[in-house]
């Protein structure tokens, strides 16, 4: 159903976008439209200064920083266990996933590894936060394009996933559950069966989204050939995650370079790619990823090993001197932490490489010569979380 049938047409569309880009070089006057900082399409406070000529965008420049919280500076005065509280708030829709790469980087420097059960549960929670994040993306995309109904469906079904996260961690949005060397707690009773039900509901939701949105002619018209990002450009801007895979880059940090401490080597799933690089491709990848994530969770639930959930770690954590870079495939893309430790209680320097920062930096390139509604489509399909841009 989603195979691209009309490749010639797509090529023509992309060529037209390029032409438009070239043509508007010479336009001078026009109107400046401030999209944001408070705007329904920016889910957060991103401001986009668009120079427009009629309905056509001559240039668009995103202005971030309305939500900068200075986490990189703040981590320098927090002990390692305290840092997870902060970084929970980076991508607030899939918060648990933010903690994982940081914890893994600290574990790498300390040379410890979580017990298999903890790795397993960590991976499950990682995928659950991916589901919580991407299912909202599908609803949000629909809302941005004017179809409200799928938005409500996504909120309805996302609830099942959030309930499962809450049942384990006690927090719906900010679990703060990952620990250096393992996890805070074990799974509650009956959780595995409930999660399987939730996964079925997520798959049903995906089918619904497929029918209601992706099969819709208007949706396809609005997204096909819009915001085409070729693979080379995507790489040089550092696009990652579904945005990169939507441009045909077959690269997934869960499969390639998966850091030790996660149980992805024990599951079998498919990394989807799409050759088109347009808004539809990116959205479609995310739909498939929701399905795959639910399958990963199902497989992991069947094979949870028994054992402790905490490795032997000192109660007061001092990380040995060194530098470590760990990146994982977060819901929004590659999220990595570059930790520089001086053997102290606190990190010396933490560089937070968040996916949305790179993903949004391509907006000026891709939003030239498109129409204003396409800016919204492109922003929605690039899918950013403000906390993930500003940190």
């Amino acid at each position: 159903m989603t195979a691209v049938t009309d490749r010639d047409q797509l090529a023509a569309l992309a060529a037209r976008a390029n032409d438009a880009r070239a043509n508007i070089e010479f336009e001078d006057d026009g109107m400046t439209l401030n999209i944001g900082p408070q705007h329904p399409a920016t889910h957060g406070t991103l401001r986009i200064v668009a120079k427009i000529d009629g309905e056509q965008v001559v240039s668009a420049e995103p202005i971030a920083g309305y939500m900068h919280r200075g986490y990189e500076k703040l981590t320098e005065v927090r002990t390692y266990p305290q840092v997870t509280t902060l970084i929970n708030r980076i991508d607030w829709l899939g918060s648990f996933a933010n903690e994982v790469p940081f914890i893994l980087a600290a574990e790498k420097l300390m040379g410890i590894e979580a017990p298999p059960r903890a790795q397993h549960i960590r991976t499950i929670l990682f995928e659950l936060s991916r589901l919580a994040n991407i299912s909202l993306f599908l609803g949000d995309l629909a809302i941005q394009l004017g179809g409200l109904t799928l938005g409500f469906y996504s909120f309805r079904d996302r609830e099942f996933v959030l309930n499962q996260i809450e049942a384990v961690t006690g927090g719906r949005f900010h679990p703060n559950f990952d620990r250096i060397g393992g996890l805070k707690d074990d799974l509650p009773k009956g959780w595995i069966a409930e999660t399987k039900v939730a996964m079925q509901k997520m798959r049903a939701f995906c089918d619904e989204a497929d029918d209601l949105l992706f099969g819709n002619e208007i949706f396809q018209k609005r997204t096909r050939g819009i915001g085409v990002i070729p693979a080379e450009v995507a790489k040089s801007y550092g696009l990652s995650g579904p945005n990169a895979r939507g441009s045909g880059i077959d690269w997934d940090l869960r499969r390639d370079n998966c850091p030790p401490g996660l149980a992805y080597d024990k599951v079998d799933w498919k990394v989807w790619t799409h050759p088109d690089g347009d808004a539809f491709a990116r959205s479609w990848i995310r739909l498939q990823e929701t399905r795959e994530a639910s399958k990963i969770v199902d497989q992991l639930l069947d094979t949870i090993p028994s054992g402790p959930i905490m490795a032997k770690v000192p109660r007061i954590i001092k990380v040995p001197e060194g530098e470590a870079w760990v990146a994982t495939e977060n819901p929004l893309g590659e999220m990595g932490y570059y930790i520089v430790s001086k053997g102290d209680l606190v990190p010396f320097r933490v560089k937070i490489r968040s996916a949305s920062f790179n993903n949004v930096s391509i907006v000026p390139w891709v939003c030239r010569g498109v129409y204003i509604p396409d800016v919204i489509t492109i922003l929605a399909s690039l899918y950013f979380i403000l906390g993930d841009i500003d940190r």
């Binding site: 399409a41 004017g146 018209k221 609005r222």
Partner: protein
Amino acid sequence: MTHVLSSIDLAYWQSTLIKLIVVAILVPTTALILGIVFLFKVMSWMQSRKGPQEAGPRGLLQLLADGAKFVQKEDLIPDKADRFVFKTAPIVVLMSTLLLYVALPASQHLVVEDLDVGVFFALAVSSLSVIGILMAGWSSANKYSLMGGLRAGGQLIAYELPMVLAVVGVVIQAGTLSLNGIVQAQANGAIFGFSALGNPFILTQFVGFFIFLAAVQAELTQTPFDMPVAESEIVGGYQVEYSGFRFLFFFLAEFATAFVFAGIAATLFLGGYWFPGVDTSSKIYWILGPAVLFTKIMLVAFLIFWVRFTYPRFREDQLQAFAWKWLIPIALVNILVTGILKVVF
């Protein structure tokens, strides 16, 4: 209503007053009904959520509460706005809606003004609203408003045409421009000699019906044609600076127009107030007419809102292309075929 009032022999000002009161009560009521039934109940049912529950029994009074809230709000006018135009724009839009009610017959005599050119009149006054919307968009001194107003201008003008052309088929078939006459033509018609059901024009003019509904959807600026008010793009378009009772005017106009357009569609294509088996001149239509018409309106309105809650929206150029490249040619072909068949039969 003209006939009735004249038979009771009232002075001109008295009959005018009665008409005024009827329309003034009728229009907000219809908007309320559509708002509650579709915007609240059907929409929340389709989106598998609960909708308003607290105000009144099953939340039915929610819209009244909302209206009361709107009236209490401060009447904000932007600093740089053209104050006079800004203030009058909602009234112009609402006036276009009110005028539409004038021609709609709820039974043979229950009509504000039984015009010989009812169809023509309805289509003409419906396009008045675009002036109000352009006024609102321009006078707000807001870029989003301006874009919304211009989008609305382009869209409403583009969709006037398929709407008119879709109706032409009906007019050819009925042989009259009077809405009452069209109802009677449907009541007296026959499908291949079988006359018990009459001949609702939806059977012969189904192409026209769908074009008309698509154009209505665009006139109402509802999804998938809601770019003028697209919330995620231009934050409400021409309505963005309006608050309080002026916003309420837009809201009323939108839903009352939806109601009356559904009524015109029901009259043109579904037989209007006519109930199969009951002659149109029967006295029972004093009661039956409005009830039958209301039922048909709700059916048509359900279609309109069903589409609204389901589809994503077009882009501006795609919308124009849809009107000019698809709807208008199809409507023209429809007219041609109708004309040929009219001559042949």
